[in-house]
Amino acid sequence: MRVAELTRRVRAKNAGPFRLTIDCFCATDADWRRLCAALPAQRVAQALAAGPDTVTRYELPSLRVLKFSLPRPGVQGAVGDRDLHGAQWALVIEALVLPADA
């Protein structure tokens, strides 16, 4: 089961030049609960090669959203930055394979 199968959209976006925020939108309460159970902050950190304790996670039941915020993998526009707006990192999260019991 991939994150993409439990979400109707994953959106990544800069939150200023130094931070990135990723919103996982679920279509149903059941999908949201399964996603929350299966996707800890450490998994997102690992997927984005970020420090294990740098990702903050928010569960937003009324929106059926699971949100992650972290320092940007590189400062926006600096040498080595590949995506000025940070939007394409969403694809890495969408592709994550969740545990079989998710």
């Binding site: 030049p17 090669a49 928010y58 937003l60 320092p71 400062v75 526009g77 040498v79």
Partner: protein
């Protein structure tokens, strides 16, 4: 409660509410003309639009330039001046010209002057300049008035947007002095109080340098609700003032990107009605709707903490907000809270030059090279590096080489998870060096290898496709954001320069 019912059937609003018309998320992006005209007919108290952001990258602040076409900006700004004239209410813009430097304030002032003179209309314009001298900020830093927002620490839930605890040392202090001195431009983000002061000057038009996206929308409702004095907004979250200010700031956050909080994000025009008990929001383009979901979800957008929005002088807490559909296209929001901070701070943005860049692009279509593109790129990089060492008198670490494989992993780099053989690969060479001559010389030195480098077992010399001549593109100076700090100020407009002038026809001859 006295209410006002609009002729078009929009929901009634409290008579003491403040109606803010937001034409779009940013000047230059376009808006629905018919929807704007409808907004003007709905008797707004103010028209407010954002003009910029850091989101397009550091080059604009680095060079004090605007990302949008000047022709488009001038055209849209004149349309808004006409709309303002028709509505007879103030028009405010913040973050003029993307980056909000003083020259961008001047540019909008000149467009305004041209319009006013051509139309024979007297316009009182207030300007809010927010560009900062490094020396002023270095002095503030020496007084301990600059506080870092963490760039590497976790984004702390409920904290001040990752603010670090107070540990400081001398080396860090001096590094920050050097950074400030090296900045090409620095701007402070103005809060609502600056706009209130400008509006109190009797301004028809307010043109501000860098400001928070929300401040220009929150200002008039805060002012009309009597919530700000010279020392800034002072309200505790659990008081009536905290609730009223919460309504103003939350409405501002929802409306700051225009119709992005609706089902038709590109349609631009949004109307918010703000009173002490809450606010309502509606899009004005035909077919667009605001729903409790689209409105509440907008708090997530470009915001690290979905419950908190940190602003100059305090923070908005929407964790207790309630969203209720008024009809199929309008939403009423209540329960948001504002908490003033004990100290008033302005966020800073600064850019410095990081080096000079040149780029080259070569297209590899030949199947056996496409199949072995990783091997070829490794050979290519080694060849360029050895050529630099042989021919150029620069230390190896003075030149940064990037070879991005378009079609393979150029977007995600090491995080790319998809595999497969593409039809073709674009190799984007990016050279970053300390000076422009070196960057160009390295790109030229790489040219024959990009064009002809064979695989070791290939007898024939290949030739790949350069899409243009010259193959090298001079990208100029690379700028980088280098400040993630706030400056503590004695009062909200302490570092800002507010002035008012009447332009166009003399007062009394206004048409």
């Amino acid at each position: 409660m006295n209410t006002i019912t609009d002729p078009t059937g929009t929901p009634a609003r409290p008579a003491d509410s403040t109606r803010v018309l937001v034409p779009s998320g940013v000047l230059g992006l376009g808006f629905d003309r018919e929807a704007l005209a409808r907004g003007v007919a709905l008797a707004p108290d103010i028209i407010a639009i954002d003009g910029g952001s850091t989101d397009s990258g550091p080059c604009y602040l680095g060079t004090a330039t605007s990302k949008y076409s000047q022709a488009v900006v001038a055209g849209e700004w004149q349309e808004l001046l006409e709309a303002r004239h028709a509505a007879g209410v103030p028009l405010v813009i913040g973050s003029a010209g993307t980056c909000g430097t003083d020259n961008q304030v001047d540019a909008l002032l000149e467009i305004t002057r041209d319009w006013a003179e051509r139309r024979g209309v007297a316009v009182r314009v207030a300007t809010i300049r927010t560009q900062q001298d490094a020396s002023t900020l270095i002095a503030a830093h020496r007084r301990g008035a600059l506080h870092p927002l963490s760039t590497t620490a976790p984004v702390k839930a409920g904290g001040r947007d990752g603010e670090r605890d107070g540990a400081r040392d001398g080396a860090q202090d001096e590094a920050l002095v050097d950074t400030l001195a090296a900045c090409t431009h620095i701007v402070a983000l103005a809060g609502a109080e600056a706009f209130i002061e400008a509006l109190r000057e009797g301004a028809d038009v307010v043109i501000a340098g860098r400001a928070t996206d929300t401040a220009l929308i929150a200002a008039l409702p805060l002012m009309r609700m009597g919530l700000t004095g010279m020392t800034g907004l002072s309200a505790d979250a659990n008081t009536d003032a905290g609730a009223a200010a919460g309504a103003a700031w939350h409405a501002a956050k929802i409306a700051e990107c225009g119709a992005l909080c609706s089902t038709r994000p590109a349609s631009g025009v949004i109307l918010v009605d703000i009173d002490a008990g809450g606010f309502s929001v509606q899009p004005l383009a035909r077919g667009a709707c605001c729903t409790p979901f689209t409105v509440s979800a907008h708090m997530l957008y470009e915001n690290a903490d979905p419950h908190l929005l940190v602003e100059p002088g305090g923070r908005l807490d929407v964790s207790g907000a309630r969203y209720e559909a008024l009809d199929e296209r309008s939403v009423r929001v209540t329960g948001s809270r504002w908490q003033s901070d004990p100290r008033y701070t302005l966020k800073l943005e600064g850019t410095r030059a990081l080096g000079h860049q040149c780029s080259s692009l070569v297209l590899v279509r030949e199947p056996r090279y496409v199949q072995r593109i990783g091997e070829w790129c490794a050979l290519l990089e080694a060849r360029i590096r050895s050529d630099i060492e042989r021919h150029l008198d620069v230390p190896a670490d003075a030149v940064t080489l990037e070879l991005r494989r378009i079609g393979v992993d150029a977007t995600l780099g090491a995080l790319e998870f998809a595999t497969g053989t593409p039809v073709e690969v674009g190799i984007l060479l990016i050279v970053t060096a300390a000076d422009a001559d070196t960057a160009l010389d390295v790109a030229r030195l790489a040219n024959p290898s990009l064009l002809h480098l064979p695989l070791p077992d290939d007898d024939a010399m290949p030739s790949f496709a350069f899409p243009w001549s010259p193959a090298e593109s001079v990208r100029g100076v690379l700028y980088g954001f280098c400040l993630d700090h706030v400056v503590e100020v004695a009062h909200p407009t302490a570092l800002l320069r507010i002035a008012a002038v009447t332009i166009g026809a003399p007062a009394g001859e206004a048409g």
